[in-house]
Symmetry: C2
Subunit: 129 residues, 2 copies
């Protein structure tokens, strides 16, 4: 299968698939013309990667997950630990963003949003607190 078919089937951009080969997440074969030839296994790996990425796992975490997936002797505890670590990062980010949202929405609510120059948003940013 050629790269654009794979892109369509996995939902990953062509560029991303090449990139994943570049960083050795996959190693598709090559045809006589130099074109990448994707096997079902490659397809499967890419789909796996796509789902892992969509859960927010970083590339290195994806590599680890793929390694664990291919390791029949893995302990599910290792997978769980990886996922929990990632979950903690997500929770952290959500907390940070939630804090930003709260502050920002208060400021926005306090701003008249008219053609006058006085603005509590700027006032807050400029405050010496």
């Amino acid at each position: 299968m050629n790269i654009s078919d794979v892109a369509e089937r996995t939902g990953l951009p062509v560029k991303t698939i090449r990139y994943y080969e570049d960083i050795d997440l996959i190693s598709p074969g090559r045809g006589a013309n130099g074109y990448r030839q994707f096997s079902q296994a490659d397809l499967h790996k890419l789909a796996f990667l796509g789902r892992a990425r969509s859960l927010g796992f970083g590339i290195e975490a994806c590599r680890s997950l793929l390694r664990l997936y291919n390791d029949q002797t893995r302990a599910s505890a290792d997978v769980k630990a990886l996922a929990q670590e990632h979950l903690a990062e997500i929770d952290q980010k959500i907390a940070e963003l939630g804090q930003m949202r709260d502050t920002l929405s208060h400021l926005i609510a306090a701003c008249a949003g008219n053609d006058r120059p006085d603005c509590p948003i700027l006032a807050d940013l400029a405050s010496d607190s």
Copy 2:
């Protein structure tokens, strides 16, 4: 004032302050020895930038905010619009992260986390759905 004093007072790393000069967010003077000389206005600007960044505004948004701040004829509506745009991005990110967290936490809950290889997390990632 020298750069490390400014760093201490604003809470910004020295490197970041130099970077902000590099991208023309500030333009401190220079002493005869080539050292940056920060005025109160520079300090104030940096503090402003620090607070805007901590609310998650991107650098270009910070530049706009600074421009609005220095423009006595601004309309608060412009500031508010900028802030609302940013708030929408934050809400979007929170929604994405929340979705990830939900999926991930379900998977984690379903995983035994022992030394057996069977793992619903990997099973989900490998699913052909």
